[in-house]
Amino acid sequence: MADDARAPLTILWFAWLRERTGTAEERLSPPADVATVGALVDWLTASSPRRAAALQTRNTVRCAVNQDFAGPDTPIRPGDEVAFFPPVTGG
């Protein structure tokens, strides 16, 4: 989203993922080789036990990058807003 190569990612956590991380929003700057959602999940999992707990059942964790649904191969760039959440249950 931002052009600044050093801009941090905004990471958002929703529903029970938020309860597990203990935070709704954080700003993080992973290394430059974390360039996809899949790589970001690996890095977040290794970064803290609470984030690992939120992300441990990967099949049921959904992701959006800049407010669009994303998959493991979706690219991540500095400044992006990346949200993790369970399957949606509205309506």
């Binding site: 958002l12 929703f14 529903a15 029970w16 959006a64 407010q67 669009d68 649904f69 949200a83 959440f85 369970p86 399957p87 949606v88 249950t89 509205g90 309506g91």
Partner: protein, 153 residues
């Protein structure tokens, strides 16, 4: 043409119906669906349902679903209102209205909108019970199947 709102307060079905249809003589049929908080029959009593959402993405996702409905059917207007926050059993959660020159389009668009809302818009339900427990509602496979019906059309 479309009205999309995410709000904590209740909505008025009659007022939304009037707002959608008043002054339009080109409409032949209006489909409507209202989702409500259903009390549970077994286990500790449900005391509240809390709807969490992803502000910004929610409106974006609903607008995309509405645009897809407008692409598939001739709609003369549609309304999607989804509440967030805490609601008690019996309260309204979501309203979908779709107006079309033709009955079948109005009915199909209504079913499509609610099916996709349930599976493609970032809302999460948490149930609180009389015994003090609270649980996040699991996504239902039936909802995915209902949404998938529309994939090939």
């Amino acid at each position: 043409m479309a009205t999309v709102r995410v709000q904590t307060q209740d909505f008025d079905v009659g007022a939304e119906y009037r707002a959608l249809t008043e002054g339009h003589s080109d409409i032949g049929g209006i489909g409507c669906f209202i989702g409500t908080v259903r009390a549970n029959a077994v286990g500790p009593q449900l005391t509240a349902l809390t709807l969490e959402h992803y502000p910004g993405m929610t409106e974006r996702a609903i607008s995309a679903i509405v645009t897809e409905a407008e692409r598939r059917w001739t709609l003369l207007g549609c309304t999607v209102i989804h509440r967030v926050g805490s609601m008690r059993p019996g309260e309204n959660i979501v309203l979908v209205l779709a107006a079309s020159p033709h009955r079948q389009a109005a009915l199909d668009a209504t079913a499509f909108l609610i099916d996709w809302l349930k599976t493609k818009a970032p809302f999460w339900k948490q149930e609180a019970f009389a015994d003090g427990t609270a649980t996040w509602v699991d996504a239902r496979e039936a909802d995915d199947a209902a949404a998938a019906r529309w994939q090939n059309s």
